[in-house]
Structures are given as structure tokens and as C-alpha cells.
Amino acid sequence: MEKILLMGNPNVGKSVFFNRLTGANVIESNYPGTTVDYTKGYMKGDSEDFEIIDVPGTFSLEPKDKAEEVAVKMLEEKKGALIICVIDASKIERGLYLVLEIIERGYPVVVALNMWDVAEDKNIQIDIEKLKSILNIPVVPTIAISGKGFKEVVLSLKKAASVGVNEITERVGEIK
């Protein structure tokens, strides 16, 4: 069975994401650090089943505390897993930092720009098409609490591929 890891900064909605995808009922709360251990669940895709793992939030892949250590260890243990990187659209920079770190380690990634509604409220505009073309991986705006964008996330899992960080740097260079 294909494995999917849900990764992202603390407090971006990974657990809400997890519950939506698997129908499980893990504890969600509105403060960082709710998930310090991992939770496993299963999801039926259209052609195959997936095992989904809700990973504790981490800012980077250089662990600073217990929860982050768990996150990094999980990633290293699950070589070949697919990563859904959940990032807070209103705090996109630190999210992309983690995305790039995961890409750098060679994992196939799908980016979920969660809390899209919050970003809109804050008047933050994100050019998704441009982001997609720079990263060359699927980028989907989502609202985990209402379920918006989930179908696209699941559908785009097939398109997730590992990309070279050098290519990305080159494409960023072209834009400037």
C-alpha cells in the first residue's frame, strides 16, 4: 500500500486534513503542538488504497524538540512515501521553506495551501499557477475545515513527483 505523510508547520491544520481524508477522529485544537506523536489511518483512492500518517508539525528538518524529532524520524523511515505538505497560505514563506527541504531530500510532494480563506481575509494574493510552474509539483488551495480542495488534492497525488532543487533555483532565476 502506498504511504502518504502529512507534513507541515505546527498549527496549519494537518490533523483536520487527516480527519477529512481518513474519516478518523483525532484531536484537533487551535494551538500548535497538538500532535506530538503520529497517527495512522487509511484512505480509499479511486484505484488504490493509501496509508496516511499524520506527522507532528515541524518548521524544518533540523529537529529542535521532541515533536520535530518524531517528524524527521518518520520522514527518514518512510523512504519512498508520498508527502502532502500542508502549509498555511497566510504564512506561506515558512511553509515553502519546509516544502523545499522535503523536496531536497528527494520525496515526491503535493503542496496543500491550506487556510486559503484566512489568506483571502488578510488580502494575501498567491499566484498558484506560477508557484506550480516554479516548483513543478501540484499546488492546491484548500480549506480543511470546510473541505474545499480535497478532491483536487487526492486527484493530484498521481502527479506528485520528486524534482531537483537545482531546477527550481534555475526557474526562480528566470523569473527575476
Binding site: 524544518s60 533540523e62 504564512k91 521553506y97
Partner: protein, 80 residues
């Protein structure tokens, strides 16, 4: 004026001037790097952590970390 991040006052704004080398990667994941604009939001008493605003998002830092980041303070605000 240059000062440590930990010495910033409430609502004071500044731009990150330098970060100790071994700390750079650690805080980069929280959106703090050289050239970024910061605003002090909360300073907890008794050598507690502080909360700063970066790119419209709040992030908290331990005093020991904030001591090792130098900022160029933009404007000086009066406190009563």
C-alpha cells in the same frame, strides 16, 4: 539604531541585520532571516519568551535565541 532582538520594545519595528551563524538555519524555518522586517508583539516577564511579527504572522522565540539576533530598529516609540 542597532540592538539585540531581545532588547526591542513593545510595538517597535526593525529589520534583521545579522544572525549568529549556527542559529541561521534554526530560525529560517520560522521565517526569520537577514533583511526581514520584524515587529515586537509580546515580551513575557521573568526571562520568558517573546512573540514577534514576521510577514504578518506571529512567531515566538526564546530569550536565548532573541539575544543572538541583531536588528536595526526603524523608529523609536515613546512608552508611557
Amino acid at each position: 539604531m542597532e540592538k539585540k532582538l531581545s532588547e526591542m520594545n513593545y510595538e517597535e519595528e526593525g529589520r534583521v541585520k545579522s544572525i549568529e551563524q549556527d542559529l541561521k538555519n534554526k530560525v529560517a524555518g520560522m521565517g526569520i532571516r537577514v533583511g526581514k522586517n520584524l515587529k515586537m508583539i509580546i515580551k513575557h516577564p521573568l526571562k520568558g519568551p517573546m512573540v514577534v511579527e514576521v510577514d504578518g504572522a506571529h512567531t515566538s522565540l526564546a530569550l536565548s535565541i532573541a539575544d543572538r539576533i541583531i536588528v536595526e530598529v526603524k523608529k523609536w516609540k515613546k512608552y508611557y
